[in-house]
Symmetry: C2
Subunit: 404 residues, 2 copies
């Protein structure tokens, strides 16, 4: 082990708490403070201070952060109520579809105008990059403000998760089209169907069998006498679900969210009766330790130096506008009692991991002898992800506070 | 991130709890169950099952385990009372010295008999390998049995920590002697003095300035309004102390223990008054998640196949006997009201990280054209570490239960 990681972790935690406090004082969500702490740490090298550079790209800390965001989505799932979530299912699905189609269209048109020399495959890829919402940032803002189990929270979180699944399908189709164009073959419809089947199947099985299986699992585990059985069992369920989601091609955080959604207080009854503390209370310290690592590292990957390249900036600006406007149509189609339409549109803005996965996939696919997403476009996409991530917390907090 | 680590982590946690429960039912400490779970997982390859092999050597999981043992020693330090610890300081020092000198003598003599063809430098190195107690196993057994803040617990933990410092000094002197013998120069006394000065200085500064500094730190931190300030501040202190210990050449766990020892309930008063939960309660879930990772991985590194090599087994058996008998002299010199002399000797048995570091250093040092610790001796040392680690929990639990 590199012992310097210990001091890097201490600095990241300390800075996250300090900046989180600062932002809460000015009425912003704490997560924005953690992102800012990360930006500061990640750009110390601009001041010629390279002492923390090693930590930003470190795999061990990245793994801690991944565990942190998995735990966050598990906590968010636990705070969500499955029955209430099911009631907004149709609304969330409509919001998700609009939130995928419109940004894709805007991205396609924008790229066709800005890069007319590229084929329609490249335009489509840029459209796909703009499709998927990052559920991490949005979930954290709703959590910071205590609004996860509100009508608006349910619609946005539901839509963001469906979005993630739709995004995966879009990526499969678009990649298939590009590869088909390269090899002269047409799109392999069967392969796409398999991908769709695995993703939809995972969610269907989780929702249909999850409650039945976990009820029995917790009853069986309540026989154990050692300390911390409720926490250990729940962590096993969360980690296994995250892994299973990844195995079917979804993001691990989708699995963690589904696990949290499926579990219910009632299942823990035997454990609580034996003296175990409530699960939320036990998970809180884990989240407080690991989740900031994720957001500080996310911030640390924001390269302020990239804002000096005007070409990338112009493309990034255009993409960001398309990304933001595209998702505002969601607020037009959102419905339901007590749903804050404005917050739905704003909550769908952040693009994160999934968009970056798309961009990386595009950078690796070749078309007409050049990558579908060339270096400069990739930089613009990263900037777009950064900006949408940074503008969402204050906008969403503002709109949620307007309606009590 | 390799998503398969998620399922490996779930399996390790689940197996640790199941085996921990099994061992508690037969009156053994849970840590023995975690070690056994690790042995099972680590030797699945003997059954031709290689599916978890990747996890055993994985750096990310090893880092989680390191954090786990650091947190364990921090918790143990918090449960210890500094004033009470100081009262047994002389007794602990005497126990530590005897526990270093006698095993060194036995190891020297044993190696002189078993390998008469080697020079006295090699004998001395084997002696040094037998010197340092592994504080992790012992601390965990005392914690499992709720005996950390008992007279016996204080003497053993104090002696184990002093042991670690003495071991470091011994390593420096012996390595210096071997390097001196190689280059024809004599031992660099100044270099040894600097090593001793850094280690003793670290502990002196931690004990002298620690309370003053941390009192002010916690008062300053109590101004922050975000959630979880008490936990975050304490984790920062623990991680920074672990790093500082490493920086002066000590093991990170010694720093974490010192940090826990220095902190006092009284310092958290402002935080508790603001509604923060007690620190022990907040640290518990973190320990329950991360500490088993350390013990499962420790067990997983036990290679049952090594027990098939009779030469290594013979040497290992001799070293193990020397290691165990050497530390029993500690029970003869242990004194103090309520101190269970037998438990002191048994509690000092386990050799762990420090012994392995010595062995690895010896394997890297050349003398007369061959390594001071050749491959076969190294395997025997690893076996000795394994056996002393596995026999201590049941022996110590048995002896502690004899006196209520």
């Amino acid at each position: 082990m590199d012992a310097n990681l210990l001091i890097a972790l201490a600095v990241m935690l300390g800075a996250a708490k300090l900046c989180g406090d600062l932002f809460e004082r000015i009425g912003m969500p704490a997560v924005l403070g953690e992102l800012s702490a990360g930006i500061a740490i990640g750009n110390l090298d601009l001041l010629g201070w390279h002492v923390l550079d090693f930590a930003i790209g470190d795999h061990n800390l990245a793994f801690l952060g991944e565990l942190g965001v998995i735990l966050l989505l598990f906590q968010v799932g636990l705070e969500s109520n499955m029955a209430a979530m099911a009631r907004v299912g149709v609304a969330a699905f409509v919001v998700a579809c609009v939130g995928v189609i419109l940004p894709m269209g805007l991205g396609y048109g924008l790229h066709a105008v800005l890069a007319p020399e590229r084929t329609w495959h490249a335009h489509l890829f840029i459209g796909a990059v703009l499709a998927a919402t990052s559920v991490g940032i949005t979930a954290r803002v709703f959590k910071d403000l205590g609004r996860i189990d509100s009508p608006t929270g349910r619609v946005v979180l539901g839509a963001a998760v469906i979005d993630d699944v739709l995004g995966l399908i879009v990526l499969a189709v678009v990649s298939g089209l590009v590869e088909g164009a390269n090899s002269g073959k047409s799109l392999d419809a069967l392969a796409v169907m398999i991908i769709i089947g695995k993703a939809v199947g995972f969610l269907a099985i989780a929702i249909a069998l999850g409650p039945w299986v976990s009820k029995r699992l917790y009853t069986a585990a309540s026989v154990l006498r050692v300390h911390g059985v409720l926490l250990a069992t729940s962590l096993c369920v969360c980690l296994a679900a995250a892994w299973a989601a990844h195995a079917v091609g979804l993001a691990p955080i989708v699995g963690a969210f589904a696990a949290g959604l499926v579990l219910d207080e009632v299942m823990f009854h035997d454990h609580i009766a034996k003296g175990d503390k409530p699960l939320e209370e036990r998970l809180e310290p884990l989240g407080q330790f690991l989740t900031p690592v994720f957001f500080v590292l996310t911030g640390a990957h924001v390269d302020l130096g990239a804002f000096g390249n005007t070409d990338a900036l112009a493309m990034a600006g255009a993409l960001t506008v398309a990304a933001i406007i595209g998702k505002q149509a969601c607020s037009l189609v959102a419905y339901g009692e007590g749903v804050n339409k404005l917050s739905v549109g704003l909550g769908m803005i952040p693009r994160g991991e999934v968009g970056l996965i798309f961009a990386a996939t595009g950078a690796g696919l070749m078309l007409d002898g050049q990558p579908v997403i060339p270096q400069q476009t990739y930089a613009a996409i990263v900037l777009m992800v950064m900006i949408t991530t940074l503008v969402t917390p204050p906008l969403l907090a503002w709109s949620l506070r307007r309606t009590p």
